[in-house]
Symmetry: C2
Subunit: 344 residues, 2 copies
Amino acid sequence: MEDPTVTSTVVREPAMTDVARLAGVSHQTVSRVLNSHPNVREQTRLRVLAAVKELGYRPNRAARALVTGRSQLIGVIAQNSTLYGPSSLLAAFEISAALQGFAVSVHRVHELGQSSITAAVERHRDERVAGIVAIAPTASANEALAEVPAEVPLVTIDGDPERHAPMVSVDQEEGAYQATRHLLEAGHETVWHISGPPDWFDAAGRIRGWRRALQEAGAEVPPISTGDWTAASGYRAGQMLARMPEVTAVFAANDHQALGALRAMTERGRSVPEEVSIVGFDDVPEAPYYSPPLTTVRQDFAAVANATLHLLLRLMNEGSTGGSQVVIAPELVRRASVQSPTRG
Amino acid sequence: MEDPTVTSTVVREPAMTDVARLAGVSHQTVSRVLNSHPNVREQTRLRVLAAVKELGYRPNRAARALVTGRSQLIGVIAQNSTLYGPSSLLAAFEISAALQGFAVSVHRVHELGQSSITAAVERHRDERVAGIVAIAPTASANEALAEVPAEVPLVTIDGDPERHAPMVSVDQEEGAYQATRHLLEAGHETVWHISGPPDWFDAAGRIRGWRRALQEAGAEVPPISTGDWTAASGYRAGQMLARMPEVTAVFAANDHQALGALRAMTERGRSVPEEVSIVGFDDVPEAPYYSPPLTTVRQDFAAVANATLHLLLRLMNEGSTGGSQVVIAPELVRRASVQSPTRG
DNA sequence: GTACGGGAAGTGAGCGCTAACACTGAGAAG
DNA sequence: CTTCTCAGTGTTAGCGCTCACTTCCCGTAC
């Protein structure tokens, strides 16, 4: 039989008062040391730190969050997808945030409808996150975000540029413009486009850039094939385009659609780039190994993530930054999928 | 001039007591309603719910976490990568967790060394997460995890099977075995392997499966080309293999490496599948659109995510489940990159 | 000498919640 | 009619922190 008073002693994690007792100071001094406040004698500071280490003390962030009303947590809303762009972005953001000492709480929504976005925002606010980042590439998502009270620090990625709110995005229009110009300059009479889902701002921006380049060059603007970012949709679009002999240049709204189109062309015996040139968008790591290696437009996701975090940090500290929007420039990457058309 | 007592009133978020006051009950009753405790009269319940709605009350999870010692948060440790496997897994897990009402806090580590894993665990424990999931595909990561105190609910994905701990993984060896058998049955004398990084358990398992299939068939076990999961490394390995006429069948440890090898073969004029057959692993969404469409092994990440969550939930509720390990079976997906060798 | 200033601490309250316990009243059991 | 039970509710005490305030002490100015 053991001593009941001993067995009943719950093994409690050390709290700030335990550290204080060991260091021979008050809990307030421990708090000051841990939050690197000034006005603590160096000698005291070291004594506290030693006690922290000895006890293996771990500050309770829940308690801190309770009293300050803010946790050191950034809430991210992303969609349920393994699309290259959004998931690269997410990974990059998590890295950036960790570097600044923030943990990241991710909430995936299955669809970008208003209600699920709103629910995700609510969930994050329950958690008393310090700020929210939303990857909101569609209009419906942006409508939901517009309803979020202004006091919630919120930065949108790839959102509606018309919404006057803190936002970071890649200049899709510019990227698409460059891609299309590149094909035009290679000598193609016009460029066909396999777009992304039209309710995505990215897709719309790429369409605008493509169209602007064609119009500036006085080229015909052919009908658009609409895809859904998947290789499968690019393949279906490619099957159509492959049948039309006048198609010599295709700009796909992302690399995976470009791959699908490539495959369709190959199957139909239209060689790329000899007969048909193709340009993608994203520069996925595999793009150099497609057959042929894909010319594409690179987006700098790390830069987007960084800009997002810094915008959010400013928002959290200063309350408001107006509707500052950051736009990151994309970059054309030339590989082997573009060539001058063989004159009939 | 306004009444100073009014102007000094800070706009505070409604707390449980505010709801209680409005509903004419005690805050404890509100708590009971919100946590769906029994022994609350239906009529009272409705009154409370109405008050909650009217005030837009949002329970403070930090306060709850403080008193219960646990948040409704699951901490995930993943590596800094956009590798298809890990990121699909992560996305799938976030979905599963959200379905069960858990938020997910993700911590990305840049390397899988002991110190960074330990730091990530500590960070999550600070946060008082209810449980931790670690995607820990290397030995060093597993060593760090072995140090985690047993009272922390922890489930490892793709970890060291030798470590007697709750773990979920895909049967890599079986998948590789099937892939290799498939090539052997097509008539190839032996199968060359482009492996993943050897310190990854997945890579090691695939090597074992490949070797077992060869040995069972009495085939020669050729030297391994080691890759790092990227298409670039597959390409480099492929450049070697393409120069060796005796190479007619290649099993790449993932689809991206397979793509790189494919590219190298094509560049060297060795047609796939006519001269060389290739099998990958993962079944990335783009695999059907490679040239040729890639035969590969599919991993069911949603099943892994689900199993992980349920194991973790059991661990959280029951304290221990022994070292239960769940293994998910992979599935061979036949496409066009495998063919019988052309007899010289 | 007294007064003052400010660095270096400590004290007490309270953030919003849950757990434990106390209480109430109505119906069942004796 | 008392006693018991138990559903339904209230009361109280913290959880572990930070914030606002107070206290102490020493150096300097007058």
